[in-house]
Symmetry: C2
Subunit: 204 residues, 2 copies
């Protein structure tokens, strides 16, 4: 099974601009990509990065300058009857066990929804299924699958539901993470901080 990891090579993670500089965001995004690639490999698959520009990564890098949806759909069209997995590069909490639940699950289309209605990872085993990552893509993907007659299974995983986009998401990395992205945050002085309602992060 081909396992692709889309990666925005320029100005990644803009919604972390309130806590990280542009260079820091690029370094943190690269650390998360490394973690995701390593987890996929430990789950028994050979990942490839699908990047918007040439990047250094511990995997084969395929460059496609087009927006996410178009680039992924080109992969799906190219695959035909062969299964394809698409795993987002900012799933810093992804473990081999969580990814194996996705990869090994039966179904024409298997989706790991993200918090807020996104689609953080999926497996497509139906030649007509296509993605649309705009808006509430999880619900859109259920509808697209239905329209082409593809059965859908959903993987219920907090680790795969947690894409790291915003400051509050950094707390999840500090609580549950263990790889390069965790070490990078610790090295940059981030630690957990509680207020009365929810746990967040502070930086030294």
């Amino acid at each position: 099974m081909r396992v692709v990891v889309p990666y925005a090579a320029s100005e990644p993670k803009t919604r972390l601009a309130d806590v990280l500089s542009a260079d820091e965001r690029a370094a943190f995004a690269a650390a998360m990509l490394d973690d995701v690639l390593a987890a996929i490999r430990s789950a028994g698959h050979e990942p490839e990065a699908l990047a918007t520009a040439p990047v250094e990564a511990d995997a084969r890098v395929v460059v496609d300058e087009r927006p996410l949806t178009e680039a992924v759909n080109a992969v799906l069209a190219d695959a035909g009857e062969d299964p394809v997995a698409v795993v987002m590069a900012d799933l810093a909490l992804a473990t081999p066990a969580a990814l194996s639940r996705l990869f090994d699950h039966d179904g024409d289309v298997v989706i790991a929804p993200g918090r807020g209605g996104g689609t953080n990872a999926l497996v497509a085993r139906h030649p007509e299924f296509r993605v649309d990552y705009h808006g509430t893509s999880y619900l859109d993907h259920l509808e697209i699958a239905r329209a082409v007659g593809a059965g859908v299974s959903v993987v219920d995983s907090h680790r795969l539901a947690t894409d790291v986009d915003e400051r509050a998401d950094l707390a999840e990395v500090l609580i549950h993470g263990s790889g390069e992205s965790y070490e990078w945050l610790k090295g940059e002085g981030f630690s957990l901080a509680s207020d009365e309602s929810r746990v967040g992060v502070v930086r030294e």
Copy 2:
């Protein structure tokens, strides 16, 4: 196995005050409690509500006015060697399948962490394990289990990780929910709304 659902009977869900009145918050909290009780029953267990004051619920209600941690620890102390499950009342996305993964998992202590480091559901099968729900309780519970020599298993579930506390959490109910809490939100005019970054909710 005793399955208790702690429930704050007075002024529940204060962090939803920006979108719901006090009466609405009480009604929504009651709808979520009903959903959780029904899901536990469908998973094959007879739930009981552990409420801070007498409430109407479709289950046996045990009243304990003390704060959450003290009330749950009284149940654990009373249980001795018998297993006890504790499931929060605001897990509007909980399904029988997700709860069965918790209830059926081996381990002295089985934890379903909540987003932000909370403990949304647990099973305790060790007579010395006690809870402490303040702060990052997930990490505290790992430490408490270690201190008493109890092995810990973690259930990786987006549904169980999603306690409904804030406006953004309502989107999860509209995306993944199906019970009384979903119907209540729809009936009150809530629907999904997207901006460029993340999906939220609007009210008619």
